[in-house]
Structures are given as structure tokens and as C-alpha cells.
């Protein structure tokens, strides 16, 4: 199937791009990172065409099942990061974003072809909307955390007066903070809408908006944590270090809970 071939090619090019980004950190040259960015653009194009071919072959709803959701997650991260590249001078940030994309793509490739025939209850445009919005929202949060991590490193280099080529290589604090801010600002409403779409669908298939399911609780917690973070940013004037640290801590909590939930908890929401 051509979609799978394209997906695997995209994964390979993402990996090469991540390696070249790594090299750019090693040799401390922006020029190398520029080359890696080009590779990432190519990978994104291939990745997009893999979705397109899937869509043409199977009709609507290309994002059902864990494989698709993860693949879409990686796609959003790459697309949004590259779009932000145009506005800010944050080329080297790719060295933090591309490994995350690769990791997610690798996990997605394990699940490749896992759920080919989705259950009937997962067919409908509301489900597609729910998955796409939530995944986009979460991918943006992941991107916010990448920028946050880089912010913390650059901040500590500047604070500890680590004179050297690393400070020069890394993007400016203001650009990183702006990306962190933008991703939170856009990710939060998207996640909110995604959750709403999901609960509407739950009302239709399960008869109630809310089941106290572990996945639902987890998502609500995530929503509250991000709401808190956004509130601190907008109302309390958090910016810079605190905001970056906040987004990293929230992401860490969520990843730990996700793994914990996957291992120990039963859920009715066991498709993704």
C-alpha cells in the first residue's frame, strides 16, 4: 500500500533531519541546521502525501486508531514548527522538535495497520473532528514544551554567563518565549473544542457526556492544567522562565499519567 510506503519514507527522512540537527548542535553551526530544516520540509511533504493517498484510498476520516492519531500528531508538530520558522529565527529549535517527532513516528509505525477496520461507533465526522482538534491541541502543547526546554537551557547559559558558542547558536529568549506563548494560546481553544466534540459524541454513543472514565479524567486534568498555565500567563504576567518551566512540568505530569493509565487502568476509550 502506497500510504504505508510514503509513511515509512517520511519517517526515514525525519530521522535523517533529526540526526543533521544533532550534528548542527555538535559542530555549532546554523548552516547545518538550515540543511536539516530543508530535510524536515521534505519529510513533511512526503508525510502529507501519505495522508493524501490514505484519504483517496479510504475516503473520509483518515485519523482513526492510534497509528493515525500519532502520525497526525507528528505531522502537526512539524507543520506548525516549520510555519513558525518563517516568522522567528529559531532554526536550532528543530534539534529539540525533530527527535520528538521521530519518537512519535516510531511509536506510530509500531501500530501501523493495527486497527484497519475501525468499529462502527467511530465513524462519523464528529469523531474525526474530535480526534483532529484534540491531537492538534496536544501537538501544540508539545511544541510549547520544546520551546520551553530550549528557553530554560538558553536562560541558564545566559544566567551562568557561559560565554561560548552555545549561547550564540541558540535562538533568542524572546523568540522562544513567543513560540511557547503562541502554542499555548492556540492549543488551548483547539483542545477545548476537541473535548467538546468528544463529549457530544459520547452523549450519542454512550448516552451521557461524562463516564468518569480514566481517559476522560486524564484529559480533563490536562485541560485544567493548561487553563491554569494560560491564566498565569495572561492574567498574572508569567513569562520567560516560569512559563517555560510550567509548560514542561505540565507535559511531564501528563506523559507520566498517560503511561500509568495505559499500563494499569481500564478504559472504555481504548481506541486511542
Amino acid at each position: 500500500m502506497i500510504g504505508i510506503v510514503l509513511f515509512k519514507t517520511a519517517l526515514a527522512v525525519y530521522l535523517v533531519s533529526a540526526v543533521v540537527y544533532g550534528i548542527s548542535l555538535w559542530v555549532r553551526r546554523v548552516l547545518t541546521a538550515r540543511f536539516a530544516t530543508g530535510l524536515m520540509v521534505a519529510a513533511l511533504a512526503i508525510h502529507t502525501s501519505s495522508f493524501a493517498s490514505r484519504w483517496l484510498a479510504e475516503g473520509l476520516s483518515p485519523v482513526v486508531g492510534l497509528h493515525d492519531a500519532l502520525s497526525f500528531f507528528a505531522w502537526v508538530m512539524a507543520a506548525v514548527y516549520l510555519a513558525l520558522q518563517l516568522k522567528t529565527k529559531t532554526r536550532v529549535l528543530g534539534a529539540f522538535v525533530s527527535p520528538v517527532i521521530c519518537l512519535i513516528m516510531v511509536v506510530a509505525s509500531v501500530e501501523l495497520g493495527g486497527t484497519v477496520g475501525a468499529p462502527d461507533m467511530l465513524k462519523g465526522s464528529l469523531v474525526t473532528l474530535h480526534v483532529m482538534l484534540s491531537v492538534t491541541g496536544e501537538a501544540l502543547f508539545a511544541l510549547a514544551s520544546c520551546a520551553g526546554l530550549m528557553y530554560l537551557i538558553q536562560d541558564s547559559l545566559l544566567k551562568r554567563k557561559k560565554a561560548g558558542s552555545m549561547i550564540r547558536l541558540f535562538p533568542s529568549l524572546s523568540d522562544l518565549d513567543r513560540i511557547n506563548n503562541l502554542c499555548l494560546l492556540w492549543g488551548f481553544p483547539l483542545l477545548t473544542l476537541g473535548v467538546l466534540a468528544g463529549s457530544l459524541w459520547a452523549r450519542i454513543v454512550w448516552g451521557s457526556h461524562w463516564q468518569w472514565d480514566s481517559k476522560q479524567v486524564w484529559t480533563l486534568l490536562a485541560w485544567f492544567l493548561y487553563a491554569f498555565l494560560l491564566h498565569q500567563r495572561l492574567a498574572m504576567g508569567w513569562r520567560g522562565r516560569k512559563a517555560a518551566l510550567g509548560s514542561l512540568i505540565v507535559l511531564a505530569i501528563l506523559v507520566v499519567l498517560l503511561i500509568f493509565g495505559k499500563l494499569f487502568l481500564q478504559t472504555v476509550h481504548n481506541f486511542v
Binding site: 522567528t88 529565527k89 538558553q154 545566559l158 544566567k159 554567563k161 560565554a163 561560548g164 558558542s165 549561547i167 550564540r168 541558540f170 535562538p171 533568542s172 529568549l173 524572546s174 523568540d175 504576567g237 508569567w238 513569562r239 520567560g240 522562565r241 516560569k242
Partner: protein, 419 residues
């Protein structure tokens, strides 16, 4: 090659001697006519900057030309022969080429990687062109040197990083704020270094500048100079919430800015980052202020560390630059060797064509009887035979010269054809 470079720079000659040799940086054209009067010199370039005086020349005879150049320098320096001899360096042929490339690429400069030297070399070349003292060799060599300088600049990081304290401050500011357009500065106290840093920042598009000084009149004068506005000294803690970069350089015996002031200012500015530059000795700003989130405090030693690290970085880049120069010297050598065979090729061509023309003239009597078309056919036939015969030896000479020293071949051709 018969190329010679003689001169002195900041490493070989003390300031007093360099001074004598070039009384002011601008008089680059006057020595050129004098140089060209030396009989052995065919082309000349005279470069004089604050750190070096050099003469580059194409000569006809080694021994006499060197003596002539040396005595020219002694005359101009108006100093004893022995005293000058110690300061001079002398490079011939490819060594001279390498030296010129290194000078153009700023590898030989006092502050390695500084950009001015290339401009000065271009001026010197323009002057020589105006005085008509350059020919094929120096024209080509000069343009090649400009290209090498450009290549070194783009392919290595030799000119990349700030090597002055005030410029290091600008680079750090960019790493904090990204674009400096629209940011504002507060200058507390006066001083050469703080004014220099302020000037650098203004050039980066910084929007506003506030000046605070214990003596208000002084603040007003400085503000006028930078087109900023003066602030009463007691009010500076208040304006901390409005500016992004603070440069402090007062002569106060203790700290004038403490952590509480900065914390309060940060609350008012909703945690927007603040860059504090303390270049006063003794320090003006309590180091505790640097511990606060989103505040970046650099004192004179920190900035000096940045500069030192950058200097070290330049040294590493210089090694890459030397490799580029070695490559380019080889490229120039290839060109030059080809150049050396050109006169021989021309002479060979002239001779054979002369023979052809002579033979045609001898046969004039019967050629005259031919009609127009036939006559031109005979001429074409003769010249195509000549061209076919010459083709292999000529390309052979060129190819040989590209690989190695062409002189034995040139000599053989000259002897065989009695050129």
C-alpha cells in the same frame, strides 16, 4: 614569478618605526611614482595602514630590485639601516602571494578578523590602478586576494563574534531580546565604554535612550548627544520599569541599585526581561539582582569573559582560514604558470604565421593568376595546416604548466623553434 613583498607590521616593528614610515594613513599614492622610477620594478602596490607598511612589486632582477626597495624604505623611514633591517620581512613569489592573502583575510591583523583591512587593501589597489603601476600580475593577484578574503569571511567564523566589550554587550542583548528595534536603554553615569555600547545599541535600532547622572546638566548634555531624554538621578529606580537595557557606569563607591529596586521594577513591567550591564568599578549593581528571574546581570568581568571566549573561537577558525589560503595559493600558482607559457605560445604562433605569410608572398606570381575564390582557398589551406601543426604543442604547453613548472618545456620549445 619575480614577485617580491617587503614590509613591516605591528609584530615586527615597534610603533615609532612604523610611524616614521607612514606619516599619515592617507598618503598612499605619492610613493608609487617614486617606486616606479626604480629600474628593476615593473609593477607596484603600496599598502600603508596604522599597523603595516608593505610594498608588493613585480621585478625583473632579484638582487638589485631588493636593494632598491630596501633603500627606498630606508630613505622614507629616515632611519639607520641596521635599525630598519631588523623590522623588515621579505617574501618572494608564492610566499608573497600567501602573505598578501593572509593580510587581505585579516589573519595577519592585530585584531584577527577585523574587517577594515580589506577596505584598506582595496583602496591601495585603486590608488595603484590610478597611478598605472599595476599590470597583468598585480591586477590578477589583487582581485584574487579580494576573493580569498570574501571566501574566508563566508566559510569560516573568523569575523563572527564580538571581540570588544561594548560589542559583546550588544550580542548578548540580541540573545535576550531578539530584535533590538523598539527597545530602550537607560544610561546611568558616563564613561567612554558605556557611551560606546550605547552607540552600538543605537545602531541596532534601539528606540529610546534615557540618561541619568548625579549632575543633571551632564545628563542633559549626554541626552542631547544621543537624542535621548535626561532623567533626574533619584528617579532612575522608577524608570527601570520602562527600559529594557541598563548600562551603569557611575563612580559611586558602593551599589547604587539593589535587588529590591529590580524586583519592584520587574513587578511593574510584568516580568518583561531586563538586561543590566554594570561596567563600573567598583560595581554599581548588587549581584543579588542578577539572581532574579528574567533579569540578566553582566559586569565588566563577565563581558570580558565573553570577549576572551570569542577570541579563542577566532583562533580555531583561523586554522580553517589557513587551509583555504593554501588552496588559493595553489590556484594562483596554476594561473601564473599558465601565464608564463603565454609569451612563448604567442612567439611560436607569430613565427609560424610569419613563415606562412612569407611563403605565400614568394608564390605571389602564380597566385595572382588565380581567381578570387581560388586565391582565398589557397590561403585557408595554408593557415589550416599551420593551425593543425601548432595545436598539439600549444595545448601541451598549457597543460604541462598547469601540473608543474613549465620552464623546461618553454626552454625546449624556444630552442627548437629558435624563438
Amino acid at each position: 614569478m619575480r614577485l617580491i613583498l617587503i614590509g613591516m607590521n605591528h609584530k615586527t616593528a615597534p610603533l615609532e618605526i612604523r610611524e616614521r614610515l607612514q606619516l599619515f594613513c592617507g598618503d598612499q599614492d605619492r610613493p608609487l611614482p617614486e617606486l616606479m622610477r626604480l629600474t628593476e620594478i615593473r609593477e607596484a602596490l603600496y599598502l600603508a595602514t596604522c599597523n603595516r607598511v608593505e610594498v608588493l612589486a613585480r621585478i625583473t632582477d632579484n638582487g638589485e630590485a631588493v636593494e632598491g626597495l630596501k633603500s627606498f624604505i630606508y630613505r622614507r623611514g629616515n632611519l639607520g639601516r641596521e635599525e630598519m633591517e631588523k623590522c623588515l620581512y621579505l617574501y618572494r613569489d608564492l610566499e608573497a602571494v600567501r602573505h598578501l592573502f593572509r593580510v587581505a583575510s585579516s589573519l595577519d591583523s592585530m585584531v584577527m578578523g577585523e574587517p577594515q583591512i580589506l577596505g584598506q587593501l582595496k583602496d591601495a589597489y585603486r590608488m595603484a590602478v590610478d597611478c598605472r603601476t599595476t599590470g597583468v600580475l598585480l591586477n590578477r593577484l589583487s582581485h584574487h586576494a579580494f576573493q580569498v578574503a570574501k571566501r574566508v569571511r563566508t566559510e569560516t567564523g573568523i569575523a563572527g563574534n564580538a571581540v570588544s566589550v561594548s560589542y559583546a554587550a550588544v550580542e548578548l542583548a540580541k540573545k535576550i531580546f531578539g530584535d533590538l528595534k523598539g527597545r530602550s536603554i537607560l544610561l546611568i553615569g558616563a564613561g567612554e565604554m558605556s557611551e560606546l555600547a550605547a552607540r552600538h545599541l543605537l545602531r541596532q535600532g534601539v528606540a529610546g535612550i534615557l540618561v541619568a547622572n548625579r549632575t543633571y546638566i551632564r545628563a542633559e548634555a549626554m541626552a542631547a548627544e544621543f537624542r535621548g531624554s535626561p532623567v533626574a538621578f533619584e528617579r532612575f529606580p522608577e524608570v527601570l520599569s520602562e527600559v529594557d537595557i541598563v548600562i551603569a557606569s557611575t563612580g559611586a563607591p558602593g551599589y547604587i541599585m539593589n535587588a529590591e529596586m529590580v524586583t519592584a521594577a520587574l513587578r511593574r513591567r510584568r516580568n518583561r526581561p531586563l538586561f543590566l550591564i554594570d561596567i563600573a568599578v567598583p560595581r554599581d549593581i548588587d549581584p543579588a539582582a542578577g539572581e532574579i528571574d528574567n533579569v540578566y546581570l553582566y559586569n565588566i568581568d563577565h563581558l570580558q569573559d565573553v570577549v576572551d571566549a570569542n577570541r579563542e573561537g577566532r583562533r580555531v577558525e583561523a586554522l580553517k582560514a589557513e587551509e583555504i589560503i593554501t588552496e588559493e595559493v595553489a590556484a594562483f600558482e596554476r594561473w601564473f604558470n599558465e601565464l608564463e607559457v603565454v609569451p612563448t605560445i604567442v612567439a611560436l604562433r607569430d613565427k609560424v604565421e610569419g613563415i606562412m605569410k612569407g611563403e605565400l608572398e614568394k608564390s605571389e606570381s602564380w597566385i595572382r593568376n588565380l581567381d578570387e575564390q581560388e586565391r582565398s582557398r589557397v590561403e585557408i589551406l595554408a593557415s589550416s595546416i599551420v593551425n593543425k601543426i601548432l595545436h598539439d604543442p600549444m595545448t601541451g604547453l598549457k597543460e604541462e604548466s598547469r601540473e608543474k613548472d613549465a620552464l623546461p618545456f618553454v626552454a625546449a620549445v624556444r630552442r627548437l623553434f629558435k624563438l
